[in-house]
Symmetry: D2
Subunit: 338 residues, 4 copies
C-alpha cells in the first residue's frame, strides 16, 4: 500500500466504554488518523481524563455534523434509535460508517420495531451489511455502512455458525454470561460494585433483545430455528461467555464430523481459536479473539459449544475496527493486535 | 422439649470448608454439644487457627473411632469412597450419621460404580435416606443414616421438583454456576486467585458426577428424563446458581398452572423463597435458603427456573444440620438461622 | 430481666446500607420491637425489596415525627447536617437516640464547622456521648443521645487507644483501606463495578473528615497528637483495615510492655480480638468484632498496629445496636451475635 | 538501525508469571528473536498451554547451558540463590543477562546475607547494574549484567527518587498494596481464591526483604534514611500501589518546590506519568508505566506520594525488556508498548 493511504476517522459517542475504546484503537492505528471525538456527557474533557488507561488526550466535543462530517470514516456509538438519523446524515456526506447500535442489524423492519421502537430510517437498512467479518468478509469489503453486531450475537453466532451452515441445529439453549462493562458506563443500582460483587443472576428474562439478531443470522446461514437466550451478569469487568446447548437435527452425526465443520470454517481465521478445553474469558481479555470449544454429551446426544470473547473488544470496539480495516482495504488485523 | 434433650455430636473431617462450617454451626447449636472435631491435615490446630471467621476454638484430632465414636450423632465430611467404611463403623456403634460424601446418595450401586468407583459398603445404601428435607422430611425424621445431597443437586432438584412431581419435564438443560469454595480448600492452579479472577469457564464437560444424582431424584419424583448438566466456575467465594431450561411435556400448560405447582410445593417452607425477579446468589449468602424464580419463554414455550443457594450452607453444611435437627426431633431450623 | 422489658424502636433513614442493616438487626433483636422504618428514596417499598438479604418485610415510610416519634429509641441514619435538627425533635419527645451522622461526634463546634458546615443544633452537642462502647461504656449506659463513631475512627481509635492512654504516641500515620460499601449506596462513577474492580487508590487526600474525630479521641484518652490519615478504596464490599504506623514517644519501651497495654485494655472485651498475625478483614466480616494485632519494627523502633472491622457492622450498624443495648440496660451483645 | 540488528534471547524460568510474560514480550519484540524458553515445572508444555493469554506456542525445555547458552541475551527468572550460579555460567559465555532475582540487587554482600542467605557468587555483584532505567540509564546502556529491581522497590524508588536526590526525606513510611500475582504462581492457602477474596491484610511484618533494597537506593541517590515498609495483599490480580508518607527534612519547603523536583526528574520520561489525582493501579494495568502523584498534608507538613505500577509489567517483565533494549542500543520502549 502506498504511504499516502491514510484515512481520516471520527468517533461519535466517545464517552462510553465502547466508543472510548474505539477511539483508543484508532488513535494508535497505523492507517487511520483520528480527527474528532464527540460526546454528549463529558464535553470538553479529554478521553484520558475519563479513561486514563486509554491514553487518548483528545478533547471530546459536542457533535456537529458540519464540523465533524469531513472524514473518510466514522464509528457511531449512539443509543438505539438515536443512531440511525445521525448515520443517515453521515452517509449523505459520503462518510463510511460502522454503527455500533442495533439500528441496522435487523434486516426486517417489523422485527426491529417489535423488539425496539419505530425505526427512523428504514430505507437505509437495505444498504447495511452485518459486520461479522468471519462470516461476511466479502460483503464488508465493499460496504459503506456496516452494522456492528451486538456482543452476545458476536459470540453466539461465531460459536454456532459452523453448525448452522450445515443445518445441524434442531434446537438451542444459549446461556450467556457477561462482565459488567457490557451494561455500559451508566452508574445504577445494578452496576454498583456492592450489588454485583459476590453475585450472579440472570436478567432480561425471558425476552432479551439480542434474540432476534441471533435467530436472523442463524437463518441467513441456513438454519431456521428459535433460540432460548438468557444472559447473566457476573462479577468481572470485561468478558463474555456463551454456553450453547444444541439439540442436533441428526443425533447420529459423529463428533468428528462436527469438529470438521469447525475446522473447515475457522482454521484460517486469525481471530478464532478452536480449543479442546472449555473456553474461558480470561484467555481473550483485551483481544479481538473469539475462543471456541466444541463438546459432545454422548448420553443426551447434545453438542455443547462454548464461545468466549471480550465484550468490549471482539464484542464491540475492536470488531468495529476490524470492519473498518476491511472497508478500507487495510490488513484485517491492523491496529487490533495482529 | 425438656432441658435434658441435648445430644452429643462429632464432625469428622473438620479441616475442609464444609466440615469446618458444620462444626461452627454445631458449636453454636442450642441442642447439640460438639464434642469432637477430627481432621487429616491440620491435626493439633484449632479450627479457629485455620478459619478465624468460624470462632471455634476446638482442636482437631486424628480420627479414632474408639475415642470419638461415643456420640449420639456425627457429620462425616470425607472424600467419596473413604466415607462409606467409616460410616459403617459409626453405624455399628449406633451413631446417627449425616454423610456429606456421594457414597450413599445413589440408590443403585451400579450407577455409583459407573460414575465413581467400587463401592466399599453397598449393603448400607438401602438404609440411607436422601437428605433433602423439603422433599423427604418424613423419611429423614426416622432415619439413622442420611446422605446429604450434593450442592448442585440441592439447588437443581429443589428448582425442578414441582415440575418433576407433575411429570412436566420432557427435557432439561441445567447450566450451573458456582463460586470457588465449591471446589474445596485444596490449593491448585484451578483455585489460585489469579486463575479465577476475571474469568469464567465450564468444567467437568460433558460428564459431571452430579448428573446421575439429579436424574435419580427426578425419577423418584415421577419424571424419568436425561438431563444435560454443565457447571461453571465463577469469581466469587460462596454461591451457586442453577439456570434450568425446561422443555415441557405439555407445551400448552399455562404459566399460572406452573406457578401453582411451585406455590403448592413450597409456600409453607421456611427455607424456600419464591421470587419474581431472577434469583441471585447474593441474597442467600450465608443462609440455609434456596431462592427460586420461575419464568416462561412464550416464544419457545420453555419454562426457565433459577435456583440460588449458598453452596457451603444450604448446599452442604447447614443442610446437614437441618437433617440432624429432623433426625433428633428438634425444630428444623435450630442453629441455622430460623 | 422481666418479660415486659421490651422497647420500641424506629430506624430513620433505612434505605441506605447502614440504616437497612440496623433495621435488620433490630427486626431480629430479642428485646427491641422495630416499629417504624423511614426513608427518603424508596418510600413505599419494603426493605427486603431493596435488600433481599436482610429479610425485613417492613415498608419504608416518609418520616413523620408525629407518627413515628412514639418510640423508646431511634437510630438516625441521615446525612451530616440533616441529622441534627431531626435528632433535636426526637430528643424533645424523650426518644433516646443513636445518631449515625457526624453531627454530634465532634465536641468542639468550631472544629465541626471547619471540617463540615454550620452546625444546626450546637447546644445538643454537650449532651451527646461518643459511642465507642469499649472506651466509654459507663457514659453510654446513662446516655440519651449517643454519637455513633465513624467507621474509620472506630477501627483507628480501638487500634490506638491502649497506646494513647499511656501517652505513648509521638506521631502516627494511619493508612486506611475500605471496601466499597463504605462509600454508601449512591451509584456514581466511583462506585461503578468497572471503576473499582482491579483497582486501588487513595481518596480524600490530604484532608479526610475523619481526621479531627480521631485526633479528638486520642486527646481525650490523653495523647494530643496530629495524625496523617489517608483512606483507600478497595475492590471488596465490606471490610475496613487501618494500618497504624506509630512513632513512639519513648522508643526504648519494650514490645512486651506495649503488648501488656493491649491485654490490659481488651482482654475482657467480647468484641475485641487480639491476634498475633496481621489482622485481616475477612475474619470479621458480618460481625461486631474489631481484630487487632500489634507488631514492632525493631529497626526503626516503630510500633505497627492493624485494626480490622466490618465497616457496616462494627463500623456502623452493629455498633449502634451495641450502644442501644447499653443505653437500655440490655446485655451488650444482644442481637449482634454474642 | 540496519535490518541485520537482531539479537537472540532466551528466557530461563519461563513457567512463572514473570518469566512467561517476559517470554511473551520478547516473542513479539521487533528486534529480539526468542530462541529458548526453559522451566523446571511444565517441561515439555508450551507456554500457551499454561498461559493461553500469552499466545507463545514455544515448548519449555529443561535448562541446559550447553544447548541454551548460545544466545546474545538472557532473562533469568530463578529463585533467589538459585539464580546467581546460573547467571555466572551465562556470563562466562558472554551472554548479557537481566536477572529478575534479588541476587545482584544489593551491592553489599553482608546486607544480602543478612536478609537472604549465603551469596553463591559474591564477586559478580560489582559488575551488576541496578536496572531502574529512569535513574540509571547511562550505566544500563553499557551493562552486561543488570539486576532487575523488585516490584515494590520499582514503585517506591520511582515515587521517592526526586525527594531523595534533594535529600528531602527525614523519615518515610511506605504502605504498599499488591495484587496476588505478586505472590507468584505457587498454589497455596495464601493464594487460594477463597482466602484472598473479600480480604485485605498485611504480610511480611515487620521485616520485608524489599526494605534494604529501597534503603540502598535512597542512599545512592543521596538520602540515607531508614524506611518502614509494609506490604498488603489485595483481591486483585495485577497492580501495585505504594503510599509513601514522607516527613520532610525541611518542613518549610513549599509544595511548589516539591512539585518542581518531580517535573525536573520525570517530565521527559515516556514511562512516568505525573498526575494530580491520587494514582490508581487500574490506569497502568498491562503497561510499563509508573503513575505518580504528589500531595501535601498542610496540617502535618508531610508529603504524601503515591506510585502505581503493574507489578508484572513495570514491576518485573516489561522493565526487564526495557533494560534489554537499553543494553542492546534499541529504542527504550521497543516491544513494551511505546
Amino acid at each position: 500500500m502506498p504511504a499516502s493511504s491514510r484515512f481520516t476517522v471520527a468517533v461519535f459517542g466517545a464517552a462510553g466504554y465502547a466508543g472510548s475504546l474505539a477511539a483508543r484503537l484508532l488513535y494508535n492505528h497505523p492507517s487511520f488518523d483520528l480527527r474528532w471525538v464527540t460526546a454528549r456527557s463529558d464535553v470538553g474533557r479529554r478521553i484520558s481524563d475519563v479513561y486514563p488507561q486509554h491514553r487518548v488526550p483528545m478533547v471530546m466535543e459536542e457533535a456537529d455534523i458540519d464540523r465533524h462530517g469531513d472524514v473518510d470514516a466514522a464509528i457511531v456509538a449512539y443509543p438505539h434509535g438515536a443512531s440511525a438519523p445521525f448515520v443517515a446524515q453521515l452517509r449523505a456526506r459520503g462518510v463510511k460508517v460502522v454503527d455500533l447500535s442495533a439500528d441496522f442489524r435487523l434486516r426486517d423492519v417489523e422485527t426491529y420495531e417489535e423488539w425496539y421502537r419505530p425505526h427512523p430510517e428504514p430505507e437505509l437498512i437495505a444498504n447495511a451489511v452485518y459486520g461479522l467479518p468471519e462470516l461476511y468478509r466479502d460483503q464488508i469489503i465493499g460496504a459503506e455502512l456496516v452494522a456492528n453486531p451486538g456482543c452476545y450475537p458476536t459470540a453466539t453466532i461465531l460459536a454456532l455458525a459452523p453448525l448452522a451452515r450445515a443445518g445441524a441445529i434442531a434446537d438451542v439453549v444459549v446461556d450467556a454470561k457477561s462482565g459488567v462493562s457490557g451494561a455500559g458506563r451508566a452508574a445504577t443500582d445494578q452496576t454498583h460494585f456492592v450489588t454485583v460483587d459476590e453475585n450472579v443472576h440472570a436478567y432480561g428474562v425471558p425476552r432479551h433483545r439480542h434474540t432476534p439478531e441471533i435467530e436472523q443470522e442463524l437463518a441467513v446461514l441456513g438454519n431456521e430455528t428459535m433460540i432460548t437466550f438468557t444472559p447473566h451478569l457476573l462479577p468481572l469487568d470485561q468478558g463474555e461467555l456463551v454456553s450453547c446447548y444444541v439439540t442436533l437435527a441428526d443425533p447420529t452425526v459423529s463428533t468428528g464430523e462436527l469438529e470438521s465443520l469447525y475446522h473447515d470454517a475457522y482454521d484460517g481465521e486469525q481471530f478464532i481459536e478452536l480449543v479442546r478445553e472449555p473456553a474461558g474469558v480470561r484467555a481473550v481479555r483485551e483481544t479481538n479473539i473469539c475462543r471456541i470449544s466444541l463438546h459432545r454429551d454422548e448420553r443426551t446426544g447434545r453438542a455443547i459449544v462454548f464461545g468466549a470473547i471480550d465484550n468490549l473488544w471482539k464484542g464491540t470496539a475492536s470488531e468495529a475496527v476490524q470492519n473498518l480495516n476491511l472497508m478500507f482495504g487495510l490488513p484485517e488485523g491492523a491496529g487490533i493486535g495482529a
